[in-house]
Symmetry: C2
Subunit: 255 residues, 2 copies
């Protein structure tokens, strides 16, 4: 079965703090859909697709935390897939080799950019059609529906997947990216014209200022905002999640 | 009378939409103080000092609009002075000469940076002690009091006055700056260590990217955030005022 013709197969389901969490698979890929409690009684609501960072998974606290803000504060639906080789998905020999190479480079004090850029691009080749199939399937749900506003929110590896995905996906209304290298992403970024909010760390030990600024500069969007915060790669402030949620709310809700 | 020993002399007074507006002079300098209606019945509240942009005045809509957010959303007091040669203050021959030179440079299509940098620094030499005297006087009011949190919010000329003021003023808790040149300001900026939010325009036709980034880089603050938006010098998005208000609220109110 082609991934573009898959439906969502729902698994376990829970409700906590006003948020419905539904596990699913689509074309065999595991994901999670967070929705506002009581969504069945409401009009279709905007959707935000998220992608997690390298080494994490669909339910990492960064994902569930951002989803909680989007669902509770904005009434949106939020979906994430496990990236290839991550979460509940098997690692291939190629995954194992690249992860070992990343750890070796780190331990040797070598730059990790070359490995991350190459490996994330490889994962994105697989993940982009998976996200397209996910969006097709989600728009068949009555609580989302076709033609509604759809946002993207992915930092780090979520940007390596998101930039090629959004560049080719006319259904995306606005996107939050950040913290990646321009070498393979500046090209597709130039084809993105929807509003973009982009995060970088001013003192990132892996991505130089020039690289981060070059990727921000590459976006073809007439409306784009760069948020650069002092601190190292992993010190992206929590308030940037709140800022991203306000940005998405501004662009996905009418009036 | 030395400016540091002046008290506020209140003039006219009005109330609208939950905001009390009081005109005053301090050491002969005209200013305006906005406060939450009913402030007399409440504990002392945080204060934000603002400074207006070149060619504007203390009650320019950018000032009253930002003050409205700070007073209504946060319960803060907000004060602005007319800068020397601006608003209700007389222009000297030197002011007239510099303004004429700025208009001449603009009409000739020459860079306006050299004139603005020089003239704003001249105005800041006078405005910095005026703001210090203002802060002394405001802290004598029971609704503000001594020792409470004080923020700074000034873009454009408000940054040319604000950076030397905050660099020498230990009573400032957090500051919003933006849209100026580093030539004369990077030095004092390096002495500022409080949290800073800094706005630049990515396509500014007057201030190059390298100049704006150099000024942001100069701040000595461990916590600083750069917001760069697509657009020309005068197209700073309105949502940056809301962002600045959230930044000030985060740093001027206790957890």
């Amino acid at each position: 079965m082609s991934p573009t013709s898959s439906s969502l197969l729902f698994g376990s389901h829970s409700v906590a703090n006003g948020v419905v969490e539904r596990d699913f698979t689509v074309g065999g890929v595991p994901g999670v859909l967070w929705s506002p409690a009581g969504y069945e009684a409401h009009e279709p609501a905007p959707l935000v697709l998220m992608a997690h960072g390298g080494g994490n998974d669909k339910k990492h606290p960064a994902m569930s935390g951002r989803a909680g803000l989007l669902v509770r504060d904005c009434g949106f639906h939020v979906a994430v897939l496990d990236a290839p080789g991550h979460g509940d998905r098997p690692r291939t020999e190629h995954d194992e080799r690249e992860v070992a190479e990343l750890f070796r480079a780190r331990a040797a004090g070598e730059p990790e950019g070359p490995v991350v850029v190459r490996y994330n691009a490889h994962l994105a080749d697989q993940a982009v059609p998976e996200y397209r199939a996910l969006l097709d399937a989600l728009q068949e749900l009555p609580e989302i529906g076709p033609g509604g506003p759809v946002g993207w929110f992915g930092i780090n590896m979520g940007t390596a997947i998101g930039i090629p995905f959004v560049a080719e996906e006319p259904r995306i209304t606005a996107a939050v990216f950040g913290q990646h290298w321009p070498q393979l992403l500046a090209g597709p970024a130039a084809r993105i014209t929807v509003p973009v909010e982009f995060d970088m760390q001013w003192d990132d030990e892996h991505i130089t200022r020039e690289e981060a600024l070059a990727l921000f500069d590459a976006f073809g969007s007439a409306e784009k905002s760069l948020h650069a915060n002092s601190g190292l790669h992993k010190q992206l402030p929590r308030f940037e999640a709140e800022s991203a949620v306000r940005f998405l709310a501004r662009h996905l809700t009418k009036g």
